[in-house]
Symmetry: D3
């Protein structure tokens, strides 16, 4: 029934390759089906100025898409002179989600910047960015622990993200581009390894949804999270 031929609760194949760039403290290339995102984590000695003297650290994220990551070419945001509202919304979501898995006291007054750049897009780029971004973050923190820069591990749990939606009246998991553009309702669920909710973002795009449907989508998201966390563990 799905354009992709997948079962309602079937995710796309996932691969996470680490150590992609020699410069970054942590990096990976995550592939969720045909969605490919390069994630790097950069450790900065200084926290943002609004945290000065608080002893708290910060994790932030930036998101970009190569011009031809999509079916037709998109204008380069640097040439346009600004990041779109969509880009800003996504990178704020990634940063917020990753911070939910961090003990900011244990991190101390440092900042980790996670860059997520989409090389090829086929739906679910923000979810792949969070799942892959967490791996890059984990690797950067591991490096700091090994170097003795950090005494305690500030990472409290996995963070992973998956999209769900209602397509043709049926709840489905992990929408690709085609499914996403035709779904009446869709959204993103960010969960921890312990299946606690970090962020829920459901939007009606043409059709509103009921509380029953909301429940079914949450069930799917929990199942998807298991698959994603397993892939994160396998990659490390």
């Amino acid at each position: 029934m799905r354009p992709s031929g997948r079962k309602l609760s079937e995710m796309r194949p996932i691969s996470i390759e680490t150590g992609i760039t020699k410069h970054a403290e942590g990096s990976c290339l995550i592939k969720v089906g045909d969605t490919h995102v390069l994630c790097t984590a950069t450790v900065e000695e200084k926290a943002p100025s609004f945290l000065k003297g608080t002893g708290l650290g910060w994790v932030t994220a930036e998101y970009g898409m190569l011009p031809r990551a999509t079916h037709s070419r998109n204008r380069r945001e640097s040439a346009a002179g600004k990041q779109s509202g969509r880009t800003q919304e996504i990178q704020r979501l990634i940063g917020r989600s990753l911070r939910a898995g961090i003990d900011r006291v244990a991190l101390g007054e440092k900042q980790i910047v996670v860059d997520c750049d989409v090389i090829q897009a086929d739906g679910g780029t923000r979810c792949a960015s969070i799942t892959g971004g967490w791996v890059a973050l984990r690797l950067a923190v591991n490096k700091m622990l090994k170097a003795g820069v950090l005494k305690t591990d500030p990472i409290v749990d996995h963070v992973a993200a998956v999209s769900c939606g209602i397509y043709g009246g049926q709840p489905i998991l992990d929408l690709d581009y085609l499914e996403d553009s035709e779904a009446g309702t869709d959204g993103n669920f960010i969960l921890t390894g312990a299946k606690k909710l970090v962020e829920v973002q459901m939007s009606a795009e043409g059709a509103t949804f009921s509380r029953d449907e909301m429940t079914q989508l949450l069930d799917l998201a929990e199942a998807g999270t298991d698959v994603l966390v397993a892939a994160q563990k396998a990659a490390l």
Copy 2:
């Protein structure tokens, strides 16, 4: 237990005054406690270019905050030379939410722009913008129906929004600024008059949340929606 002294499920007093400006096709000043937002709806003859020839209409929104709507003065976005990511995220949410209550075929190739400008902020400005924006939209559509520009009413239901959160371990409804800044988890629920879900946006800010809590928050949101829809009806 709440800083505001309100009960867990108690909303702030709501007032909606219509006909605030003589120029706009629809307008109101909505007050949800100390959060005051001026909403206007502008009817434009032309739909955005991406809809040309489709016969479909569009509803979009813009959001702003006067510099001294907040406790300390914020820099004017026009002086800064761009809208913040937060502003863009909010106005995209308002537009998306209002479109969920519109039959775009019945509207036809027109655009209605809803401007929401915060005069005084005390938490929940995006929710007040949606609830008040819907009233401005309703008034503008009424005017078009009366003038015969529209034959069929394109508005299919009320749309209203309320924030919920977990404060001191308890689910609470309609957070003011103080409550919002201390809540471990909070978010926004946009519902129709028929209590269908339009948008759900829950974020962990320091503490993740469980599915049980999610259920309680949805219960609160439904209760709040009844109050808001009643206020919308009273204003019209």
Copy 3:
């Protein structure tokens, strides 16, 4: 003879309501006919850097217009990415005019920012901004005097502004939008309570003017100033 039906030297009804927002140190909503402007004054501990060490204070102003303050909707300047030349010219005028009524030594190294946001426009928005802005400034200074932050009152006199023009060959006072768009010559006169001139800005828009006409316009402006200063006093 005037489109508004007013006598040549008749001003529109004026109302000034103070205490409009709970956050600002001083605030008012000024209505000059159908022109409505919300004015707030914000006290900042630090003067601008070019005054560092001089002992002198500063008063500056910013001006904005809500998108639907006008007959047809104007593009939001924050979305356009910059303030128009008109906006900058107006806010520079407001700041300069208000500074003329201040003893900057008595103010000391502080800054007061006056924000003037037009809610509804019907001609004369910059004049209403100055007249109302002065009230907001007066209230903020009163608060500082009461709190002992200031020992001496830095305000030396009222400052008020009114437009004058030549319409159909006749000098008229306080032009509304219709009169303004058809006047051959018009401009703004900013005076103190003692009727000293602070700023004179007369422009020929299609027809030049004579020294005799200039004299008549100055007479009208003096009469208008009396009305405005009385309204300021009544509001305080």
Copy 4:
């Protein structure tokens, strides 16, 4: 008594050299004392879009200052990414003033752009720009008349500008930089050859002024206009 040693009503030496650039339809280098401005007039076939179908022409102006036209170097506005409020205010004034001397019906649906670029600044750059800009405009119109592009001369009179101010309690004419920075009140007077007023802009900078002083300043401005118009005539 004046820092420049000039009499109260004495202007600086004026020279206007035409034909400065080979490309522009009209051009001149105007020197008013040590203030040197290069003015060019460009004829464009199309009027701005807001005039489409009206049969009316337009004259507009742009103003700039070379970075080292001033005592210390100013940041290049193109590098800063925007024109300052001061620049925009000045170029709006120049355009408005020049339009006052033009019959826009006789010009027809064309646009003439007058560029005024300050090579060396010593006070009064906006006035020199107007006086010199008018010469460039006159030359461009002459060329169009000669080529038969225009049948009737659209220029109705000379337009010239001079600054006046109150320095040490005395009204003075044509302020240089030193005098300008110390004057309590100063402004610009734009007049036609027939001594009609086009624009009056007087500002109190630290000291308000009386109607008597306003009268004296107008007298000075009329005297200065005679000198400027004579220089324009001599240059053509």
Copy 5:
């Protein structure tokens, strides 16, 4: 003698992998040592407006660098709100170089946009972009030939680029980052397969150079071009 341990005329290992993204008409990932660039070619039906009606086609290029492509993180240009002068200079060079290998009449009124995004940088990114960009362009043109969109092959020859410099007084080929930052003179040579010069850009960075040295650098560049063209052929 070289920090890299390479011989004076020894290039780094080169690999070019094609078909990297499913969306682009042509694409490759080129690796020149540790410099990795993703190149895509996008075919657009319309040529730029300045070519309308000329029958001529256009090839243009855009260049970007992921924030953590470098040793320390660079600010994202989309966040900064503009492309740096360096970025613009590089993308102009890439476009100009690729156009030199194209018969624009045979291409017809179309545009091909080549995007070069640096994934990892270790010196010579602009050269790798040109060499890899040519492969992406070749693939896109092959696709158009196969589809019958083009009748004649518009590509007249290979285009490849290599850097040369003078390091420790010796001419060296294909500088990596370390060598580049210490070379007294360096630059880029773009040649065709037939060893004709397309572009020569030599700059003294601290030490000027002689005509004899220029001759030696040209010899090195010719040798390097042979290696690069062979790699291009192998990849296709």
Copy 6:
């Protein structure tokens, strides 16, 4: 054979007038045929922050073109809100070239900013800017030496620039606008007084070039440099 009627190796008449503005530490107006550029040098006490504590000085350049320096009017870059890629490329070249003639240790931690503003353009504006910019720089350094601010002369040699190209199959020197727009290959050569190469920038624009042609162009450039250096000496 050349449109200009000049011999293949004949330069346009050159004049360099110094002391053009009273404010700058060094200034000149250079005319190379109909290309006229105003060059000023500004001495700043502080070097750029990246040089702090190194003891090294810096020379940088900015380039601009008046809107009507060209045949048809160009949009003012300050109004466009950014400098074009071409402008940035040119000013980076000017700065790099002038630095090649400076001993940055002898200059010490200061910065000299050279502004080159094109008053009238007829090809070769970047070359005229370098040749004239060097004169302004020399004058500013002379002033510092005279004032004792510098003990040792940091200028090690003249720097001058000339364009060369291949027009109708023949190498020609110092292209004017017409020749430039029709040349198949052209570029710029920057040399010192001792005829050492500082920068070579040759580009094929439609036709590639051979090493033999490169040699002939270098011969022409050396001849042109002699003429330019003589003109620099004559001006000082």
